[in-house]
Subunit: 461 residues, 2 copies
Amino acid sequence: MILLKDLEKNYEKYIDKDIEVAGWIKNSRFQKKLGFIELHDGTQFKPIQIVVDSNLANFEEVSKLHLSSAIIVNGKLVSTPNAKQKYEIQAKEIVVEGKSSDDYPLQKKRHTFEFLRTLLHLRSRTNTFNAVFKVRSELSYAIHKFFNERGFVYVHTPIITASDAEGAGEMFEVSTLDLNNLPKDKDGNVDFSEDFFGKKTNLTVSGQLQVESYAMSHRNVYTFGPTFRAENSNTPRHAAEFWMIEPEIAFAELEDVCNLAEDMVRYIIKYVLEKCPQEMEFFNKFIDKGLIERLEKVSNSDFKKMTYTEAIEVLEKADVKFDYPVKWGIDLQTEHERYLSEKIANGPVFITDYPKEIKAFYMKLNEDGKTVAATDLLVPGIGELIGGSEREYRYDVLLDKIKDAGLNPEDYSWYLDLRKYGTAKHGGYGLGFERMIMYLTGMTNIRDVIPFPRTVGHCEY
Amino acid sequence: MILLKDLEKNYEKYIDKDIEVAGWIKNSRFQKKLGFIELHDGTQFKPIQIVVDSNLANFEEVSKLHLSSAIIVNGKLVSTPNAKQKYEIQAKEIVVEGKSSDDYPLQKKRHTFEFLRTLLHLRSRTNTFNAVFKVRSELSYAIHKFFNERGFVYVHTPIITASDAEGAGEMFEVSTLDLNNLPKDKDGNVDFSEDFFGKKTNLTVSGQLQVESYAMSHRNVYTFGPTFRAENSNTPRHAAEFWMIEPEIAFAELEDVCNLAEDMVRYIIKYVLEKCPQEMEFFNKFIDKGLIERLEKVSNSDFKKMTYTEAIEVLEKADVKFDYPVKWGIDLQTEHERYLSEKIANGPVFITDYPKEIKAFYMKLNEDGKTVAATDLLVPGIGELIGGSEREYRYDVLLDKIKDAGLNPEDYSWYLDLRKYGTAKHGGYGLGFERMIMYLTGMTNIRDVIPFPRTVGHCEY
């Protein structure tokens, strides 16, 4: 048996020879004595055409198969120089592996993405979702490959945690207590000492703090795992469960962090364009016209840089009415971010040195005392793609920042230890994996780039 | 600045030239006018020797630095053909990036693994844990590489789920309800309709059922992600949070599943031996003598096969007193598994076709009506490394098996759909990632191969 992806690479070798393929019927049209089946085997985007004539022993049976039936085909591969496809199979034997029922819900007509979200177990059989999840897979590999080639150590930071990395996340609690029969302490509150871990625990919102400890032992490290936000946001950009990539590099400053992010973005765009040409062509044609050209441009251009203060000046001068008024100190909104990357930079742009008040406690305080060495990478069509910073590596300054943020230094004693036992300048960034898939495919709803999305009120399968 | 791993590859090029390196002091000895520092930069296992003499401007300061202080060194790389190491640096300038405090808890003496478990944020600086987590990283990459090269699509199955893959796991619940103020329904039970997802949800115990739906669209797929068991087991082999690799292949039978597992195990052993020579030598010398020879043998030998029924016969005849008595129908215990792989197979062995009563509902019923097409791969020193099966692909048989297992067919309607709309023979296996790391390194406690282990009563950091 041969896979379609392997056949595509070496088809000349098999011309006029008998081969065996297997897959699912994507499309078929049958006349009295002749039929054509488009067979998809999942190993590449394109199906193969199977020609069936009435000499086939079970021609009748095959002609009546519903879409998505599974078959195993033996036949001769023939060259078809005048047709759209380069080759087809003239079937000699077709084994029906699994008939599809006549109520198969994905018929030939186009279905809305919304409808397909009700069929998460079947939608990956459609062109769009087949392509999305192939790109998702190759993108994931590209990221691992990028970091591995550079000697980064992949650290699996914990999913269940007793700390809150940002000091502000809305979190999911994790427990084995019987909620209908909770143990109580003497004040009538839930007694978490009887829980599995002997304390209150939750799902991680970021692996950054933990991965920093590995940057102090392995120098260049990254984490790539699921993260969780219990935000009650029903938007096309929010999911409760998503994957995040967080590299962390030691003996490094903000500029090194920006350079790493830029190298990574360029690398993974090139990788996906090269490894998924059929899928990217599909997106370019049916989902987001101009996608490939835009990505190619980004992968070949230098990213621009601008301080937050410069960005505010630009926005204040802009000939545009923003919904959110602009002044120094505000958190940039998506409308501002898109204006900066689309109208000013005309491509990806790093904004650096944000006011300390709007950024997390662990970011390095700049010498001006007002800003921190943070950066966001903004890209056209999306806004923020990556957020990073140099970390505060000075023990005393970090301790003050923890206190100023209203956090308890005791909860961060291990994090402070990293500044006590051989601290080094270091920094890193976070990239939302799904946001990157959306950027690469032109898909506009995060629910459509996650195999089994979890959002408010939705946890099916 | 150059990384030690890059220097090691091309050191001849830099001999007698000035270079800059950075890292942490692993060891140092100082005389009045001369000092030697072993500097570790995290990019390779081996440190580099820095020679410091009293001409150095801050010789005094450097001579007093505590272990693990971070420094940046400029100096000349010189060849040392008569020494243990091939080269060293004669320091011209040393910048102290971060002093380590004198209460640094990892002193030169050997610490027990148990003690180091209380310092999860620092233990990766020790030789053993530095090596373990480098191997963990390379092993993870080897697994992705193996599947990617074969065209497998990586599917991120969900972490939060409303279903229980095995029908029997002990699970962690996930909730955003205020446990001190739970909403109740009219019968006084917790009202999960007010929870984030509108229902009771938990952490996944396996991504297998979900990934099967992708085998029906992308043919060869795998998932590799965190899984959870809330088992109250305080043993060296159990963790509440661990990572699992679960490939699933379509148009495939049990033999294909075994072949895939065998190919993968051989591939990843070879990969890690090749990519982590310094680390593997360390394990071979200090953790598990004979490790490398054993692994090399496994990576070059064919795995044996034996049916469960044959295995029981062998065990019944064995000249050994087992704690658990042997008869057809029992679940094999680790003592039995080790006997079979160590004494009988003298290497890895697949046991196949287990009694249906001791295996999960989704495994394919064999024609004898008594056994299922399941397999466990047993290896010396560990016992079960991999568990897999061909899945029941026949709608009616699966429906009966779901009912026989006391499960509600409605909860599995989507899973049954996969057998209704073009079913195909398929199967896969699960590999516990941490168990594989233990097998490769000789480490014997699962807590020592997870960066931040979660076990009963332990959820630190």
